[in-house]
């Protein structure tokens, strides 16, 4: 297939005195269609690309964050068919038949209650983990509208916060739960 370098970085604009080779023997790029936040979006990427990087680099949905790439921090949490999932370990080919919701598309009643509670409790610090925290909290309250303290801690365990905002996260989940009940 054609070298995409030509599109991305015309040879004459590259390094002076460089012996970079324009031809790489690359894998085929493929066209994929994704259902994201209720819209059909098409992307051209290499097979095996994690959904995280498709969202961030190809589709400009940068509310979903990269923290570890190994499904260990939760910063990249999105909903796939309604369930919180780690987009860094979800490969593009496995996402094509699913409904994907990112923080940008989290607008239902539960999402609104969670975000309002997050603001009332001033949960955020740096904020990098918070899209993921919010997506997980929406998942929790959708499945279990009145979680106990222990259930909150267990459900949210996989969402790491380096700024350590957990006390407020848990308070906000409980507040959102009360809001939903009202």
């Amino acid at each position: 297939m054609a070298c995409s370098l030509a599109k991305v970085l015309p040879c004459e604009t590259r390094i002076p005195s460089s012996d970079w080779d324009c031809q790489t023997e690359r894998a085929e790029q493929m066209k994929y269609q994704l259902k994201i936040n209720g819209e059909i979006r098409s992307v051209d990427v290499e097979p095996g690309t994690p959904l995280l990087w498709v969202l961030r680099d190809e589709l400009g949905l940068t509310g979903t964050k990269f923290g570890c790439g190994v499904a260990y921090c939760g910063a990249c949490t999105v909903h796939i068919d309604g369930y919180p999932s780690r987009s860094c370990q979800t490969f593009i080919e496995d996402a094509v038949d699913s409904e994907i919701t990112t923080i940008e598309g989290a607008t239902d009643r539960v999402a609104k209650a969670v975000q309002a509670a997050w603001r009332e409790k001033d949960v955020v610090q740096c904020g990098w983990c918070q899209s993921g925290q919010v997506m997980s909290a929406i998942g929790l309250l959708t499945e279990n509208p009145k979680p106990s303290d222990e259930e909150i801690k267990e459900y949210m365990y996989g969402n790491a916060c380096r700024c350590v905002t957990y006390l407020r996260i848990n308070e906000a989940v409980k507040l959102a739960s009360r809001k939903l009940e009202a």
Partner: protein, 723 residues
């Protein structure tokens, strides 16, 4: 440190048809005001008020979560009596002449100084704007300025009322009065307000806040760097045959300083894949090739022969005989591991060409250092480099470093790419944890002589650590006669009265780069000092709180503040004689924090139930942010003391990603109660001071319950599990 505030009284022109009022520092360093048309070249402001009445506060400090975007905004809004909902924030450009940190003389954030150094400057800017608006309204309405009051951005006098925007045009033509008056504390409505919400809590909960890593520019290419697996190694050669199999790979190139090979690709994922596929031959001649156990023994050996006597008047040799003849002694040796900052947004930096030079997009903590570094690497005049600061996904010290390491890497990558296209350098989590700039591995040894009454008669204290400041721009200020003050802070300049307190220091040499890590030297000195005092208290059967109070002279300003914090935490926790909880307190960044830790121990299983924390940080500008920083600081300390360590085997880092450098998790966080000592003194730092006393309070509580002293961190070394 004292803060110098420039006086006002100078007006930079004005423009007919101004659409905004701007207040900032003029070219002579005094506060000035102007209409917008004139402003671009003349003035980088602190405050802008537009014709619709919206107040924008321009933040000279970046936001890494510490709350400064709310704090500085509070200061301006307070003086203006602005409607909090109608105040926006914007990060300042790089301009050291207007936006320098008054404690460093350079534009930058660190050392928990953001509120402290801005407190009068941002209030005065708000007061200048208020005075101009009031006089403009008085002139318009033909009333006495003293008759005008402001409520939520609305000026009122008798029957007249109007919002800020209606007066900005006239206000920007008035002369700045010689001495606009800031409020007295009894007039505060926003400073100290418990219910003020963070300015960044909407955009950080709906995904719209723009962080550096979120930048995407037309034609942008992505870069990842293969760095030496041993610190201090350099590239001999590389082979990119396998990288060429990676879809999206563009090319690879050695960095000009030979510290790594950069892989360019058309997205981040491809850049990581291609970088991982490079095979690089390294020269390890100058690299660190030791393992952690060898570094520990090398440090312990240096404890025997300190290089420097830190206290001039009391040398180690002068206390030797008192110690030798003491009836009772306490001796202890402590070791601390390397620690990574691990901000959750991995480091990244984008550099793009502009007409006249480049623009750098970064969660830029220290424009005053990054700006000249990037200009020099690209052989540009600093005026050709523009910096766009964006939200930073945490830092804990990592984004500020004297070498501007990742900014420099991005500049080198941009240079070797041919300078035609925007280049975004991204670090993976593995790059971050294995990339150095750690809290230094450190060893302490103390010998404390006790007299017949159990009183301390002499103290021989020795520290071995790598200097953070030597060889950096901070050396002239922070290194005196060879002694890096950040290696000994918290031991050498504590608040306690300790007779015959001698402190020795040796610099440890290693190619592993070290850096300030949330609370700098206090990360280890606080733990050591507060553990040792607990040892003295238990050896001499004194109450640990009473003993410390007796060592603090209430005539000293900071000692008196610490006494208040201790008394507050004692009251909050209901501390009693013979209490089985742990106590520690520490003074750092001009703030006093005292902590009581309540833990349960079952065999080797430790559960921290609750921390009581009392803080004296001067006037509490945003009490809820102070509480949040105490909570965050405590949690940050717990992750480190429980299990945080970066270790080396033959010079290579053993850890890769979060599975082997575990952060504190939800469910591991104890309950925390924070008390704030009420004060009208100038504000001091809150980002870091919660860290140092937390670890020793927990360690002292574990001792109270088990009789086991924890001297080597992390605590998992002593066989404890945290449940």
């Amino acid at each position: 440190m004292t803060v110098q505030i420039s006086r006002r009284g100078f007006l930079i022109g004005s423009a007919a048809g101004s659409t905004a009022l701007l207040v900032g520092l003029g070219s002579n360093g005094v506060l000035a005001a102007a209409g917008e048309a004139k402003l671009a070249a003349a003035l980088n402001p602190f405050v802008r008020i537009d014709a619709s009445g919206v107040v924008t506060v321009i933040l000279k400090h970046f936001e890494m979560g510490q709350g400064t975007s709310t704090g500085l905004t509070t200061l301006v809004a307070e003086e203006l009596d602005a409607d909090w909902e109608k105040v926006d924030t914007e990060f300042a450009p790089s301009d050291g002449s207007r936006y320098a940190n008054l404690m460093f003389g350079l534009q930058g954030t660190g050392g928990s100084t953001a509120t402290a150094n801005s407190y009068m400057q941002y209030r005065e800017a708000g007061a200048v704007a208020r005075d101009l608006l009031v006089r403009a309204a008085a002139q318009t309405w033909g009333v006495d300025p003293d008759s005008i009051t402001i409520e939520r951005s609305i000026l009122t006098s008798g029957p007249h009322f109007g919002h800020f925007g209606e007066f900005v045009e006239l206000a920007s033509t008035l002369e700045v009065s010689s001495d606009p008056v800031v409020k007295t504390p009894d007039q505060f409505r926003l400073i100290g307000n418990q219910r003020l919400h963070r300015k960044d809590n909407s955009n950080k909960t709906d995904g719209t806040a723009v962080f550096a890593m979120d930048i995407k520019l037309p034609g942008m290419i992505y870069a990842a760097i293969a760095r030496s697996p041993k610190f201090g190694g350099s590239v001999i050669s590389f082979d990119d045959r396998d990288a060429k199999q990676v879809g999206g790979f563009i090319a690879a190139q050695v960095l000009p300083n030979k510290a790594g090979v950069v892989a360019f690709a058309k997205n981040t994922w491809s850049a990581f894949q291609a970088r991982d596929a490079l095979s690089v031959e390294w020269d390890f001649a100058n690299a660190e090739s030791r393992s952690t156990f060898e570094i520990v023994s090398a440090q312990k050996a240096l404890l025997d022969h300190p290089q420097f006597d830190v206290n001039h008047d009391i040398s180690l040799s002068s206390v030797a005989s008192t110690i030798a003849s003491a009836p009772r002694k306490i001796e202890a040796e402590f070791t601390f591991p390397f620690l990574a900052h691990a901000p959750l947004e991995p480091l990244n930096c984008t550099i793009a060409p502009t007409k006249s030079g480049v623009i750098m997009y970064d969660g830029c903590q220290f424009p005053g250092l990054s700006h000249p570094t990037v200009a020099a690497i690209l052989d540009l005049d600093p005026s050709q480099v523009e910096i766009k600061t964006l939200y930073a996904g945490g830092s804990f010290g990592r984004r500020a470093n004297p070498m501007s390491d990742y900014n420099a890497e991005a500049a080198m990558a941009f240079a070797v790419s041919g300078r035609k296209l925007p280049v975004k350098l991204v670090w993976s989590r593995e790059d971050d944890l294995r990339g150095g700039h750690y809290r230094s591995q450190t060893a302490h040894r103390a010998t404390i002589a006790l007299g017949a009454e159990g009183n301390i008669t002499a103290w021989d204290h020795r520290i071995v650590t790598k200097s953070i400041m030597k060889g950096t721009a901070f050396e002239p200020v922070l290194v005196r006669e060879g002694i890096d003050s950040t290696s000994v802070e918290g031991i050498a300049e504590g608040l306690y009265d300790i007779p015959n307190h001698a402190v020795g220091l040796s610099d440890f040499e290693t190619a592993v780069p070290v850096l300030w890590w949330r609370s700098v030297g206090h990360t280890h000195t606080g733990f050591v000092m507060e553990t040792l005092l607990d040892m003295v208290a238990s050896e001499t059967r004194q109450d640990p709180i009473e003993m410390r109070l007796a060592m603090l002279d209430p005539k000293g300003t900071n000692q008196a503040r610490m006494i208040s914090a201790i008394n507050l935490v004692r009251m909050m926790s209901g501390w009693e004689e013979g209490d089985k909880r742990g106590f520690a307190c520490h003074y750092s960044f001009n703030t006093c924090v005292a902590v009581v830790a309540d833990v349960s121990v079952n065999g080797k299983d430790v559960h921290v139930n609750k921390l009581y924390m009392a803080v004296d940080c001067g006037v509490a500008v945003n009490p809820d942010i102070i509480r949040a920083q105490m909570e965050g600081g405590a949690g940050f300390a717990l992750a480190a003391i429980y299990r945080g360590e970066i270790t080396l085997t033959d010079g290579e880092v053993d850890q890769f990603n979060f599975p082997d450098y575990e952060l504190l998790r939800n469910g591991e966080m104890p309950e925390i109660e924070v008390g704030i000592v009420s004060s009208n003194a100038a504000p001091s730092g809150v980002g870091e001071p919660g860290v140092p006393p937390t670890g020793p309070a927990v360690a002292n509580a574990i001792f109270a319950q088990t009789g086991t002293r924890i001297l080597n961190l992390p605590m998992t070394k002593a066989g404890f599990n945290f449940v």
